[in-house]
Structures are given as structure tokens and as C-alpha cells.
């Protein structure tokens, strides 16, 4: 790799100062002061039909501008999921409907001149319900008497296994070779079921939207979204507004994690503003964020592994049941990632199968969430690998090293499984997983610490680990584009559709362009995610921005460079090949004459053959090179109470070249801690009637800075030829390993295997009691002389 000045160097984020100083940046900061305040009436029932709804009293309340119910919307089914079109998610949602399918589902909305009036008006809306029997247990959903989606016009966009009569949103099956046969022939097998919970994203900025009609009589939406272009398309289709009449602007977003990769309040704000011609704003309360947005898909995963006695893994069978909740956003694609970005880790198997159903239930919708199915699959597989290692009498690390994927190798799964469709065959051009494992062992002190050490009467310390892979965008589906525009005085605008949601993509994309064009990052002024002003980008999801959008930016910068060289040559009266490009100047190789970029651009604007230099390039992946990671955790655990603490979490990551090492580290560490939250404490809980219990930060517990004592993060030296400056993506990989690493560490400490997340002290203690009880019984039995 050639020496870089900006890429892979320490560069501060371009927007950190203004954000810290509290400047207007986020969606709600741009709501017009006079905007109508929207409040949403939400369902108190898990499943009901609205027999009658009367809004007259609410509308009569002084200060109320409008009240909208399902009768005010065109009846067009759509999916709220922001993903490639046609979407692999069923079109099973109406802006408002005459059925409510979870506690918190939208019934109506009020727009009023202030918040208090809007809230008062909600209480005046009269609704008569026909309460139906809800399906709350996802293991009883398929074929249940209670059918959650019986409405007529809902449909799939292409075959995804959509079978609403059976409460099935999607289904999937794939098999390589003959799994049953290979398992029956295996010398050693294990099988086990694992349960993963619903997790809440909890971005600190609540879901926010505001709308207005501009002077061109167009609808302008500001939204805290990860997918502004998808939002525009979905609004247009659902509300029957021509696409050219809508502009969607994504300002600074206060965290997304997948939670803003779907429509939230945009439909309601758009309709209020279209009908009233007045600006409107809707900011979800924290309770609404918890109760009425999305969570991670809860799953049951049945894992069966087969191996030879000497530890070659021969077969993997993975059955999954996924709970998509009331609507099917991302139902199939999340589920497929549970297989496609997990099972290839062990690519030397003779047979592998992945299959299962994604079912509807009457709880809040599941949706995209960092990790996107891979976390769930990783927890199951990487727990199962440790179980298999024990049965084989092997060190779990040695088992992994013997079987895991390596550079230059492939897996048949890549070709079979894409996201909603078939996949793309690829070889691992860059895969330093082997290094990640070895380096992680050193950093955690694995040899000395595995499996456990006593450190006092009640305390143990132990280690656990897991490996993971993710992807870099969705090949042949998701596209990113970038425009680079030269300005007088020789600075640039970089216009990208890519969506900075706090991960720092504006900064790293500026770095890529600045590197190629040989200028400081300050000379690359970034503007992103405005459907009127920036080129298209699918959005911030699927670990695609660095790789897909980054490649688009790189291409644009290269093209701009060519254009600049041509203009400089023309200006100096030489051929382009005579020009040496030096970023801020051009040198005529023949006579060393120099022309500065500033002079060239000023001339181009004002003096000679005037023109605007502006280039736009696009990129879509033809493969999705996975980042890899080995995660190691050391915990300290109380044998008597099951309480445990994380002493250190070691991450060694191969994401190719890090465009911005510190921001990449931030992606990993943020992901790891979010994964630790899922592993340890986070748990969306509903009551028997479907009402959410964990509806605030008092009851839904995410990690604080005091809970995780230390994070150790390193990057492997790696270069991905197809990536911009050798980069792969890094947004999701950090979240994948913690659940299995924690479960494995707990097992290594106390010999109890926790097969449902989160791994709580109470579950550990109860498993210990059961284990000790059994031992006690075993002791008695062996006293009787039975052979155990």
C-alpha cells in the first residue's frame, strides 16, 4: 500500500466541534417554530379491530388543527423497511389501519398548536374496539387460530415465503449436500436450542420528523432517518404524492443502529402537512421509541453440529424461528443474515443447512438492528462450538483454528444466500481471522487465564471468546453515489447520498476524496443526504458506507483528478501526460512551471474557457468482503450470586485498511458495548396482555461508562483490494461476538451453559442450583453402586 497523507491517519471528525458547541444540527432543531405539534393515539390492545372511531370532539377542541384516522389515508399497503426496491419485506402495513396489532400501534394522530392541546385532544378521540385474541408467544404463532394479517391487499413483492394465513411473514430453506446423512455419520455430535431476546436500539435522539410545504409547493420532510431516498419513495407510493413533489432532508442524526432504517413518523407528518398546508413536527417520546418503533428480532435457533473425533467439523444444521412482531419489516433478510454471515465461518464442512420461519406476533415490530441477524446466529453457533469442543476434549480455540475460514478460501453459502435473493460467489481476498485469534489470545492472556482462576472465596475470573464475520454492503443491490464539485479558490464540495448517522461517514468520505485529490480535509466540504441536492445512496445500513459509498467517492475523486489534469494541461498548453498532479498545484514536467489549484479554479470560473468542474460517480458492490473479528472477554464472577463484571473486552478486527483508525475504533467499541448490553442486561419485556414493561431507561438497562471497565481494541494489518484504499466496512462487526463470548466465559467459570439471552446473574444462579442438585443426586446414586 502506498503512503497516505489523510487516509489511515489521525484526522478529527469534521463536525465534532459544532456538535459539542450545541449548534443547530438535528432534525428537531430545524422545525419551524409555528409548526403544528403532532401526537399519536396508540393502541391499548395487543390485537383489536376498530369498530368505530369518532374524532369530532377532539377536532372541536380549540387549538386542534386536524385529527387523522385510517379513514383519512389512501389504502395502500407498503413496508416501512428502508431497503433495496422491490423490497424483500412484505407490504403488510397501512399508514393507519382499522386493525391494531400491538400495544402501541398507531390509531390516529392529532395536530394542534401546542403539545398540551394535542395531548388533551387525544383523550377526546372515541374508539370502540373488537378485542381479538393476541398471539404473544412466537413459538405458537405459526398456524395459530388467531390470524394477525387477514387484510386483502397485502402482498409480497417477489416470493419470500409470505403466508399470512399461517402467520408466516417469510420462510427460507437452503441446504448444501445432505445434512441429515452427514450428521448421522459424524463421530461426535451436539445439538442445542438457543434463544435471543428483543433488544432496543436506544439511540439517544428519539425518532423525529418535521414537514412543511415550500415555496415551490413541494413537501419538504426533515427526518432522523438512515435512508432518506427510501423514505421519499415509500411516502410517494403510500400517500400517492408524485416523487418529484417530495424532498427529504436528513440532518445530523443522533444515532441509528438500524432503528431509523424504517419509516417512523414520516407518514403522519407528511399527511398533516399535506392536508393543512401548515408545517408540522413529531418527536417521539422515549416511551414511544421503546413502545412503537422497532426492536431486534427475537429468535429461537436450533443448532446441530457434527465432527470427526479429531475435530474436523463436518456438518452444521441450523433451524431458526424468528419473531417479526406485528409487521414484517426486514423479516426475511435479517433471518437470512443469521445464516449467511455466520455459518461460512466454518467453511470446511461437508454439509450445511439453514432453514426456518419468520412469524408474526402481536408485539412491536422487529426491524433492522446493527448485526442484523448475525448477532443471533453468532451467539448460537459460537456457544455450540464451545460445547462441541468440550465434547471432543479439545481447546475451543484449537477447534476454531482448525476449522475456521482463511484467506483465499470461500464458502458455497456466499453464492446461495444473499439478502432476500440468491447471493454472490466470492473468495476471501482479505481474511486475517487467524491473526485476530492469535493476537486476541495474547492481549487477554488466554494461556494463563483459560478457563478460570480462583481469586478469593466467592470470586472467580474466567475468559471466553467468539469469532465473527459480517459483510460490506449488499452486492448488485445497494448503490452509493458521490458528486465532487470544484469551487473557486480551489476547494471542493463533496455531495453524497451516504447517510451520516453519527458513525462519522461524512468525515471518512471526505478523507477518501481529500486523499485522492491531495488536499487537506478542510478543503473538502461535505453535504450529505438530501434527496434534492445530493446524488442517490441506498443509505446507512448493511455495513455499506465505507465500502460502497467510499468506493463511489473514490471513483469520483479519481475522475475529478483526470478532469483537473486535463484543464491544467490546457491552461499550460501541454499534454495531460506532461502534468504532475500535486494536489494543490500542477507541475509541467517539461519545464517545472507550476500552476496552483487555486489559480486554475479561479481562471476556470472567471477568465478562460469558463466552466463548472463537477463529477458524479456511482458504485455498487460486486461482492461483499466480510470484516472479521475475534472477541475475547475476561469476567469476574461471584459464585454465590451469579453477578459478574467485565474486566476487559479484547477486540482484534480485520476491516481492511481503516480510513480513520480512531473512528473505526469507535465503531468497534460502540458495537462491543451494545453487544455486551444484549449479552448482559438488555431485555425488552412485555406483560401478559402485551403491554411493554421496559418502556423507559429506568427499566430498560443499557451499559453505562462504569459497567465496562476496559476495552482493548486493535486492528489487523489487512488490505482489501476491492475496497477504497484497501478498506472494508466496520459498522456492525463489533456487536457480534459479546453474547457468545460472555456465555462461554460464564461456562468456563462455573460450568453452566446459559442458552438464552441476556445472561443474567439470576439465570446463572438457577442453572448452578440445578447443576449442583444433579451432582448431589448423582452422588447419592453412585453411593447406591450404580455406574454413572
Amino acid at each position: 500500500m502506498k503512503k497516505t497523507k489523510t487516509v489511515n491517519q489521525k484526522v478529527r471528525s469534521i463536525d465534532g466541534k459544532g456538535i459539542m458547541m450545541g449548534r443547530a444540527a438535528y432534525t428537531d432543531d430545524f422545525a419551524p417554530k409555528a409548526a403544528l405539534v403532532i401526537k399519536v393515539l396508540r393502541s391499548p390492545h395487543a390485537f383489536a379491530r376498530i369498530k368505530r372511531i369518532d374524532k369530532s370532539k377532539a377536532e372541536a377542541l380549540p387549538g386542534v388543527e386536524i385529527v387523522l384516522t385510517h379513514e383519512d389515508f389512501p389504502r395502500n399497503p407498503f413496508t416501512r423497511a428502508g431497503q433495496g426496491y422491490p423490497e424483500p419485506s412484505p407490504h403488510d402495513k397501512f399508514a393507519l389501519d382499522d386493525h391494531v396489532r400491538y400495544v402501541g400501534d398507531e390509531i390516529a394522530c392529532v395536530a394542534a398548536h401546542d403539545e398540551k392541546t394535542a395531548e388533551a385532544a387525544l383523550k377526546l378521540i372515541e374508539v370502540d374496539y373488537e378485542v381479538k385474541e393476541p398471539v404473544l408467544d412466537f413459538e405458537k404463532a405459526k398456524g395459530n387460530e388467531s390470524v394477525i394479517h387477514a387484510e386483502e391487499s397485502i402482498h409480497e413483492m417477489f416470493p419470500i415465503g409470505f403466508d399470512p394465513e399461517k402467520n408466516v411473514a417469510a420462510a427460507y430453506h437452503m441446504e448444501v449436500d445432505d445434512v441429515e446423512k452427514r450428521l448421522s455419520e459424524s463421530e461426535v455430535t451436539i445439538e442445542s436450542s438457543f434463544y435471543t431476546q428483543a433488544q432496543a436500539h436506544t439511540a439517544l435522539e428519539p425518532h423525529t420528523v418535521n414537514a412543511r410545504i415550500d415555496y415551490l409547493n413541494r413537501l419538504v420532510i426533515y427526518s432522523s432517518t438512515q435512508t432518506p431516498f427510501h423514505v421519499r419513495r415509500i411516502l410517494s407510493q403510500a400517500l400517492e404524492i408524485p416523487l418529484n413533489r417530495i424532498r427529504v432532508i436528513k440532518p445530523r442524526v443522533g444515532g441509528g443502529f438500524g432503528g431509523k432504517q424504517a419509516i417512523h413518523g414520516e407518514m403522519l407528518a407528511a399527511m398533516v402537512t399535506m392536508k393543512t398546508k401548515k408545517p408540522s413536527r413529531l418527536t417521539y417520546t422515549r416511551k414511544e421509541v421503546f413502545e412503537a418503533t422497532y426492536s431486534r428480532h427475537p429468535m429461537r435457533i436450533d443448532m446441530r453440529l457434527g465432527a470427526t473425533k479429531d475435530g474436523r467439523i463436518t456438518a452444521i444444521d441450523c433451524y431458526g424461528l424468528s419473531d417479526t412482531g406485528a409487521y414484517g419489516e426486514h423479516a426475511l433478510t435479517v433471518f437470512m443474515v443469521t445464516g449467511s454471515k455466520v455459518l461460512p465461518l466454518y467453511n470446511k464442512v461437508d454439509a450445511v443447512r439453514f432453514h426456518g420461519d419468520i412469524v408474526y406476533t402481536n408485539r412491536m415490530s422487529s426491524g433492522a438492528f446493527r448485526g442484523y441477524g448475525a448477532v443471533q446466529g453468532n451467539y448460537a453457533l459460537e456457544s455450540a462450538i464451545d460445547m462441541l469442543a468440550e465434547k471432543l476434549g479439545m481447546d475451543p480455540l484449537a477447534l476454531r483454528q482448525k476449522n475456521m475460514i482463511a484467506e483465499g478460501e470461500s464458502s458455497p453459502i456466499f453464492e446461495i444466500m444473499g439478502e432476500g435473493t440468491a447471493g454472490t460467489a466470492m473468495n476471501m481476498e482479505s481474511c486475517k481471522l487467524d491473526y485476530c485469534v492469535k493476537r486476541g489470545m495474547e492481549l487477554i492472556g488466554y494461556k494463563d487465564k483459560y478457563p478460570r482462576q480462583e481469586i478469593g472465596k466467592n470470586k472467580l475470573r474466567s475468559v471466553g471468546m467468539a469469532i465473527a464475520m459480517q459483510g460490506s454492503g449488499i452486492p448488485y443491490i445497494d448503490m452509493g453515489a458521490a458528486t465532487i464539485k470544484l469551487n473557486d479558490d480551489g476547494f471542493y464540495n463533496l455531495l453524497v447520498g451516504a447517510t451520516d448517522i453519527g458513525q462519522g461517514s461524512d468525515t471518512i468520505l471526505a478523507q477518501i476524496a481529500a486523499e485522492e485529490l491531495g488536499v487537506d480535509v478542510e478543503k473538502m466540504v461535505v453535504y450529505s443526504s438530501d434527496t434534492d441536492l445530493t446524488p442517490f445512496d441506498a443509505g446507512a445500513y448493511a455495513s455499506s458506507t465505507t465500502y460502497v459509498s467510499g468506493n463511489a467517492v473514490w471513483k469520483a475523486a479519481k475522475t475529478m483528478k483526470e478532469r483537473l489534469i486535463a484543464e491544467a494541461a490546457r491552461s499550460l498548453g501541454v499534454e495531460p501526460e506532461d502534468i504532475e498532479f500535486q494536489g494543490t498545484s500542477f507541475k509541467n514536467k517539461k519545464d517545472d512551471e507550476e500552476l496552483t489549484l487555486s489559480d486554475l479554479s479561479n481562471t476556470l470560473f472567471y477568465n478562460d474557457d469558463q466552466k463548472q468542474l463537477s463529477v458524479t460517480e456511482s458504485y455498487y458492490g460486486t461482492k461483499s468482503p466480510p470484516p472479521f473479528m475475534a472477541g475475547f472477554v475476561e469476567i469476574e464472577i461471584d459464585k454465590e450470586t451469579g453477578e459478574y463484571e467485565v474486566i476487559d473486552y479484547v477486540s482484534v478486527v480485520d476491516c481492511g485498511v481503516t480510513i480513520n483508525p480512531k473512528l473505526a475504533q469507535g465503531q468497534i467499541e460502540g458495537g462491543v458495548v451494545q453487544g455486551l448490553g444484549m449479552a448482559m442486561t438488555e431485555d425488552v419485556k412485555i406483560a401478559a396482555n402485551g403491554k411493554l414493561i421496559t418502556a423507559d431507561f429506568l427499566n430498560y438497562k443499557i451499559p453505562t461508562g462504569k459497567d465496562i471497565r476496559k476495552l482493548t481494541t486493535e486492528f489487523a494489518e489487512s488490505y482489501e483490494k476491492s475496497g477504497p484504499y484497501g478498506a472494508k466496512s466496520v459498522g456492525e462487526i463489533g456487536i457480534d461476538t459479546p453474547p457468545a463470548a460472555i456465555a462461554n466465559a460464564v461456562y468456563n467459570a462455573l460450568g453452566v451453559r446459559i442458552k438464552s439471552l441476556p445472561v443474567t446473574p439470576e439465570k446463572i444462579l438457577s442453572a448452578l442450583k440445578e447443576k449442583n442438585g444433579k451432582h448431589h443426586m448423582m452422588g447419592m446414586r453412585s453411593h447406591d453402586g450404580r455406574n454413572l
Binding site: 459539542m20 450545541g22 436500539h201 435522539e205 445530523r252 417520546t285 422515549r286 462519522g504
Partner: protein
């Protein structure tokens, strides 16, 4: 009702309802940095200083602020900018929604002239939830900022 306070060194008269909370008042009077992240005083986003102490403005009665000195991050712009540089160096700034609140708590800590270990600092900031950073980079940046301040 009307109350008189000093915001960022300037006398302000706020026209409020008796049950109004300070976060809403400040937002209404265009202090954009004051944002809300929860409704249960649990996230730290809306933190401001009242007479130099960090408080959750989403749960502070505006009426009680009569005669008090209020500081929002707009009032400590230079300090915030310096802290942001350290955040930038450590890669600690991601979505930034929690940053103004943190800047104010850290500023109050600096004014208190107390010496802090990493552990104390983690305890001190426990009421500032961050979902992006994993915290470690923030803690490092803040330690550097406080170290520079000495």
C-alpha cells in the same frame, strides 16, 4: 407567570406556566443545545448548569430558577470547543446528541478543581448515557481535557 434569571451571563425574563420545566423553556427561548433524550431524568442529554451544578433540565421547574444562574453549552463555547478537540483526537464523538450535556458536567467538574481518577470519572458521568462510543474514548478525552486544564 414571569421569572427573571441569568442565562449564560445575560439577564433573561421568561414568561412561563407554573408547571413548566426548564428544558422546555430554554428550547422555547432558542437555546438549541438543550435537547431531550428521555422523559424520566435518566439519560443526561438535557443537562444544564444551575448555579454551576449539573441538573437535568427536563425535571427542573423553571419557576424554581428565579434568581439563579443558568449555563447552557452556548455559554461555555470556548471550553466546549477545547473539549471537542480532545474528543476528536480520541475518536470519541459519534452522533453527538449527548455531547453538550457531557460538556457541561465536565465543565462543572473542572470548576470544582477536584482531582479525579478514571474510576471516579466513570462514576461521575454515570448519568450520561451514550449509545455510540462504548465510553472509553470519551473518558480518555475528558481526562486529557481535565489534565490540560490544570
Amino acid at each position: 407567570m414571569k421569572i427573571e434569571t441569568v442565562v449564560n451571563g445575560h439577564k433573561r425574563i421568561f414568561d412561563i406556566t407554573p408547571d413548566e420545566l426548564l428544558a422546555d423553556t430554554l428550547k422555547r427561548y432558542d437555546y438549541t443545545s438543550v435537547r431531550k433524550g428521555c422523559d424520566t431524568t435518566s439519560c443526561g442529554v438535557c443537562t444544564i448548569l444551575v448555579d454551576g451544578s449539573p441538573v437535568p433540565s427536563c425535571a427542573y421547574l423553571t419557576a424554581r430558577a428565579e434568581g439563579k444562574e443558568i449555563t447552557t453549552v452556548e455559554g461555555i463555547a470556548e471550553e466546549a470547543e477545547r473539549l471537542a478537540e480532545h474528543f476528536g483526537d480520541e475518536g470519541a464523538d459519534q452522533c453527538g446528541f449527548c455531547n453538550p450535556g457531557i460538556a457541561l458536567s465536565v465543565h462543572a467538574l473542572k470548576l470544582s478543581r477536584k482531582s479525579f481518577t478514571e474510576e471516579n470519572l466513570r462514576h461521575y458521568l454515570v448519568g450520561h448515557l451514550c449509545r455510540c462510543s462504548g465510553y472509553q474514548s470519551q473518558i480518555k478525552a475528558i481526562q486529557r481535557y481535565l489534565g490540560d486544564a490544570k
